[in-house]
Amino acid sequence: MLNLPSADQIVQGARSLEAATSDPLAPPQVAEVLATVLTRWRDREFASRHATIVRIARHLGLSIPLLEESLDALLAPFTRAALAQLAARVATRRELLGFVMAGNVVGAGLHEVVLGLLAGAGLLVKTSSREPWFFEELAKTLAQEDLRVGARLQVFNWSRTRADLTRTLREVTDELIPYGDDSTIAAVGGGGRMVGFGSRLSAALVTRGAARGGPAQQVARCLARDVTLFEQLGCLSPHQIFVECESEGDATGFAERLAREMGDLAARLPPPLDLELEDAAALRSVRETARWRAIAGEPVRTIEGPGLSWVVIFDPDADLSPAPGLRCVRVSVIRTLAELAARLAPVRGKLEAFAVARNGANISTIREVLAASGVSYLAEPGAMQSPPLTWRHGGGWFLDRMTAGQ
């Protein structure tokens, strides 16, 4: 575990950041450094990356192949070209930003960290006790590559119970940006100078025609990957897949294909060996509910892997609702896009992303329906965990601020 900082060390960190940001760097210059660093991190043989993944795997009980593929997906969009393009858009900001990171998804927050650095801000990052290593190691790589850019990122770790240290972080930064669930954001405290990325939910749509025949297999494979990466614990992980079709047969067929792909992925990217009791209880409850609804004659079907490794629940009439994560996904049926909008209503305002398998369907109509429900990111199946650098995370407020709406 990392050393616990004192309040003085956090204040000192903020002073160092102020000093570092008083020495302006052009965004393209920062983009070059970031491109070099993130290219290294995309390499599975890179020692810091490997050591980080091994630590996280041990601490959280996640499999190394799963973490490798998840991190690959997250880092894929951070190409030199994409960074350069973003650098051309950012508005320079000499300010100190504090980040309180969530621990459920390795690297969550990277998009905002990169944006902040490109914009010339100084960043003070508090990592989660569950996953304190990724940003710590990334900051070291950054400092090794370029001292001036590296000096703009300071990483600390303390528990959320240390409200005094979090208060200090609030006091020394111009704005605090917490990630995570409502309790995390509440623990940080309310009030001004704080805008959080709260908890969000994602899903997928398979339009008519994409659910059967040759395309369906590929769509199922890609969506199984979207579900599986990060153990389905991030805001970009789909919890439910809506299949547009006239007959339920297409949707059940798709659920079966998806289940096969989930099984194949579980063999290649093993699920956690030991689940925490609370997680296992949540998964058990979801399965037993589906099982008993089926026994009672409801048109619900459960297709599952061994133990609690993964499950596909065919629940044709279900509204969108969150699953417990950990490879638990529902497949539902819609007849029209208007019906989809109705099914999303319970989570309106809490939606982040949708994967859309459209097979020729008109994307602008789909985009309109999903945007009206609050979806800010549409992805191809298989690409959900690789949002572009211009991802409008949480509705895009941070991106807009850093690019001044450009």
């Binding site: 998804v105 989660s128 997680d279 058990r284 409850s285 026994i295 969150p322 699953a323 950990l326 319970p346």
Partner: protein, 363 residues
């Protein structure tokens, strides 16, 4: 002798050595008579003739009671049958669980026998105060039925039910308690922890304490359900002593649920002299076996290991005896430590969790 008579006989004259064989007989009966349970067992590939130990009897999750009719067909129409509904308030779920108790006499025998052991081991009969509606006011509540039976069996002298399905009449309850204190007569109070919280709040607000007579006792149940700021078990003990003069050994928490015909009670110096632990544990009656279950494998966990609590409750003979709860706990030498409700919290961090979704849906 029918299987029901065998269970009734066991409740009246427990023979621990017979539990396993009776549990297997009860399972065989339920497999045949409860169609949804049979379908579930078939789905798991478990048939009664293949079982030689109750350890492998399939446990039915309490969620099943929300969806399936876990009793013999037409049981609810049998004379004297009782139909209970779960409160449906936990986590804001709309659907309520349903438990048909075809033989009320077996439920009554189970409830009263363990109440006698746990709440009235001294053979006392006394004034009764119910702070939860009795069965005439809330017939669908299994707790109401149990309280009604308790008042009839162990009550003596004045009694009062100070609640209906909508509210607690705290003023009437306090008047009753003041009168008992003035008469120096012991009282047994029965109610939810939420009802006690209201009474404690009322007394504290007035700066009043009622000194109930020695041997007064109270049973609280339900834990945090219905409370804005839940009272902890230690606080209940403290407030009962400070505001009602009830000795901690006579403050006994009950753990029960609609889906089970038997209950657990705290072991204290009053009902288990010399056997009460420093930290409160609960005791099941001899016709109920507590289990800690691994939610991943659904196998029994070793003694003292944290898991989901499960029970084989022979008193559930006409529905399903092997029940898996959504409560965490551990079992050691037959003593049960309740560790709280599984949260179905699931994913944390930036993903929306089930609990957040449900609390937003309630709002």
């Amino acid at each position: 002798m029918t299987i029901q008579e065998q269970v009734l006989s066991f409740i009246h004259r427990p023979e621990p050595g017979r539990f396993d064989s009776l549990a297997l007989d009860v399972f065989r009966f339920q497999y045949v008579s409860v169609p949804p349970y049979r379908r579930y067992c078939d789905h798991l590939g478990i048939r009664p003739e293949t079982l030689s130990s109750p350890d492998r009897i399939p446990l039915v999750s309490t969620v099943a009671f929300k969806y399936a009719s876990l009793c013999a067909p037409d049981s609810a129409q049998l004379p004297g049958a009782l139909t209970f509904l779960t409160s449906g308030t936990t986590r804001g779920r709309q659907r309520r669980g349903l438990h048909v108790v075809a033989r009320a006499d077996i439920y009554r025998a189970s409830a009263l026998s363990h109440l006698r052991t746990s709440m009235f081991p001294d053979g006392a009969r006394m004034r009764m105060l119910a702070m939860h509606p009795t069965a005439d006011r809330m017939p669908e509540s299994s707790l109401s039925t149990m309280i009604t039976w308790c008042m009839a069996e162990f009550g003596q002298g004045p009694s009062l039910c100070a609640a209906d399905r909508w509210s607690l009449d705290a003023k009437a309850a306090l008047t009753f308690l003041r009168r008992a204190a003035k008469d120096a007569e012991p009282v047994c109070i029965l109610g939810t922890t939420a009802a006690y919280a209201a009474i404690f709040h009322g007394l504290a607000a007035r700066g009043e304490a009622i000194a109930l007579a020695p041997r007064s006792r109270m049973m609280d149940t339900g834990g945090p359900k219905g409370q804005m700021v839940p009272l902890g078990a230690g606080e209940v003990l403290e407030l009962a002593q400070g505001l009602l003069g009830i000795e901690p050994a006579y403050v006994i928490n009950e753990y029960g649920m609609t889906e089970l015909c038997s209950q657990l009670y705290d072991a204290t110096e009053f009902n288990a002299p010399g056997g009460a632990d420093h930290e409160r544990v609960k005791l099941a009656p001899p016709w109920m076996r507590p289990l800690a279950i691994d939610p991943t494998t659904l196998r029994h966990l070793p003694e003292g290991t944290r898991g989901l609590l499960g029970f084989i409750d022979l008193a559930n003979v006409n529905s399903v005896s092997a029940v898996l709860t959504e409560d965490f706990g551990m079992v050691h030498e037959g003593r049960i430590r309740i560790l709280g409700r599984a949260s179905v919290e699931g994913s944390r961090g930036c993903a929306l969790s089930v609990a957040q979704f449900e609390s937003a849906a309630r709002a």
